[in-house]
Symmetry: C2
Subunit: 341 residues, 2 copies
DNA sequence: AATCACTCCCAAACCGCTTTGGATTTCCCA
DNA sequence: TGGGAAATCCAAAGCGGTTTGGGAGTGATT
């Protein structure tokens, strides 16, 4: 059943039926009722392909998931990212996974084929070239995160990663820890840079000199967390606490602590960053790890709304939004052990 | 730059240009060259919206990620699922996350609006109603997994979960373990049912009676794994080995073992199922966990190909494909301890 | 009664491509 | 040398909606 058939059945022109269904004012209320009823009765659903062509809009937003050619790891956070925000407004969500050396082409094609009305930029890096590119080709976008080093204005939503790790470090310092290991994500990722800055800032505020041997940067996997923590624990002057970039790394860190015969939360404290992913909950009742927490799900909803807003506004001014992370106390932290101190 | 403009610039009709670009035979080789060159030079990319409308194809496949209203957990495996299979053939990948009580409508709308040419069915359940629905509305689909209880023929690709867990159980039995705890996923999920069957079959073959207290079924989270393992370890006659549904649950199980002051691989063995997700590698050089392994990435690629094949074939016969899991020996298993035996 | 402003509806153009049904030219062979 | 096949190309008709530019009817205003 298409528009024309429905119109014929109603004895109306396609024009009127289209207007009736789309809420235009120049149609009699009574007629509109009739049309609506018939549409419902015949189970009429407009063909999206036709709408897209006629309106020149794609009614879709793209999520381009970069995959680092060097580190073949897919960032899975977007799995929780997809809400009903899009579908509620009639938008589709398009996914493409692209090697980072081919991003340029991907975005250009997305634009010139008219596949999407806008994109979400995931996993921004230091001086991320995508921001200039997208601005240049005129494809609306919102960055989930920020890109240090970029000068052009752009829309973004980010967690205050610096302050989150600043607070976490302060919390550990307050507990008496002075040797705190940082097990960070890859430090060409923007969030990782900011987290390190927060960590360093907190140390500096207490006049504690940073120790390069206590700062690791790697993929956020269990094995990498294990390796980093094991290495640091083996130092002559090992840390009494770890600040860890993710839930999964944190599990590796815990394994390292236990493998060394130490007890988490008593001998060695751990704070992780928790994205509050649905499939990776930090405990059910009481948190397993003390954590800086910020819901990716929430952020995803907001970013999606920002983008749709940007797309529908004729002259979009960049929108910016900084979320604060909570500091959640769990079972993995405690006062610095006397003996070590 | 669109087709018409390009045609004008070349002094040709849109018809010819279209045919030249799409490889139709009724165009002079020389002309084709010229057209190709010009298309490249002017950076021409055909408007997908127009193609879709003209051809009546959506050039897109849908992935509907069910979200259980009772358990709000998004299955993140599809993150690794998305390959270049689609883009190579000019297809887009559409994602929708849908509460399971609204699936019916979602698929119907997908069909009637013509948003997709086919769908991948994720996370099939016992007697999954989606298979009958999709067959009825005539939307091509391939199931990633299988749905026990369904009688109509349909296309699927699955891992031999039964045999994987059968072999894993046998392996533990061979090591002398006789009390083996099963920490399974939710048992309305098809794969979980099959895994339990494999486990039971192996026990039966050695005339070991299953013990209900050694069989848990829950969400595959760290906390659930921890809880299940802790409970079993506290039994008067605790298991000496665990068979665990996932990497993440496995981490919870390990935490439980260590919290009980036992050593993994010496006092208590653990075998997990490893989907070989890029963001959740089971160690780097040597596997952390002994595991039944089967790459979701690989499976995803194959399922995608099956679906595209199904879409392009006029009279599709159901395709079926069963993959075997490898049994990977890692550091988490060892002979059953004498004392307990 | 003529003018004007609304209200409500429609015909037709358009979005940018594919595809059908020729038309024209060239080639080959009887 | 004429006629049919083959090779090339084109005009025009869709695909299924939206949107522009009226047109007819109704009431109120002058």
């Amino acid at each position: 059943m298409n528009l024309k058939e429905l119109a014929t059945k109603l004895g109306l022109s396609p024009t009127t039926v289209s207007r009736a269904l789309n809420g235009y004012p120049e149609v009699n209320a009574e007629t509109r009722e009739r049309v609506m009823a018939a549409a419902h009765r015949y189970n009429y659903a407009p063909n999206t392909r036709a709408i897209r062509l006629a309106t020149g809009r794609a009614l879709a937003v793209g999520h381009v998931i970069p995959i680092m050619t060097k580190h073949e790891i897919v960032n899975p956070v977007f799995a929780d990212f997809i809400g009903e925000t899009y579908s509620r407004q009639g938008y589709d969500m398009l996914l493409s996974v692209v090697p980072d050396d081919d991003e340029d082409r991907t975005y250009r094609v997305l634009k010139s084929r008219g596949s999407v009305d806008g994109v979400i930029v995931h996993a921004p890096r230091l001086n991320d070239p995508r921001i200039a590119l997208l601005t240049e080709i005129g494809l609306p976008f919102v960055v989930h995160g920020r890109a240090t080093g970029t000068t052009i204005p752009y829309s973004w939503l980010d967690v205050n990663n610096r302050r989150a790790f600043l607070r976490a470090t302060e919390f550990l310092l307050d507990l008496g820890h002075t040797r705190i290991g940082l097990i960070n994500g890859l430090e060409f990722m923007d969030f990782a840079i900011r987290r390190r800055n927060g960590y360093l800032e907190a140390l500096a505020a207490r006049a504690i000199a940073p120790d390069a041997r206590l700062m690791f940067s790697d993929e956020m996997t269990e094995a990498a967390g294990f390796h980093a923590a094991s290495t640091m624990i083996a130092l002559p002057d090992p840390p009494t606490a770890f600040l860890v970039a993710s839930m999964i790394s944190g599990m590796g860190v815990r394994r390292a602590v236990e493998a060394a015969g130490r007890v988490v939360g008593r001998d060695i404290s751990i704070i992780i960053h928790d994205d509050d992913l649905s499939y990776l909950p930090n405990g059910t009742d009481v948190p397993i790890f003390t954590a800086t927490r910020s819901s990716v799900r929430e952020a995803g909803r907001m970013v999606a709304e920002m983008l749709l807003d940007l797309i529908s506004t004729p002259t979009p001014a960049p929108r910016e939004r900084l979320l604060e992370a909570e500091l959640i106390i769990g079972q993995s932290t405690g006062p610095a052990p006397r003996a070590v101190q």
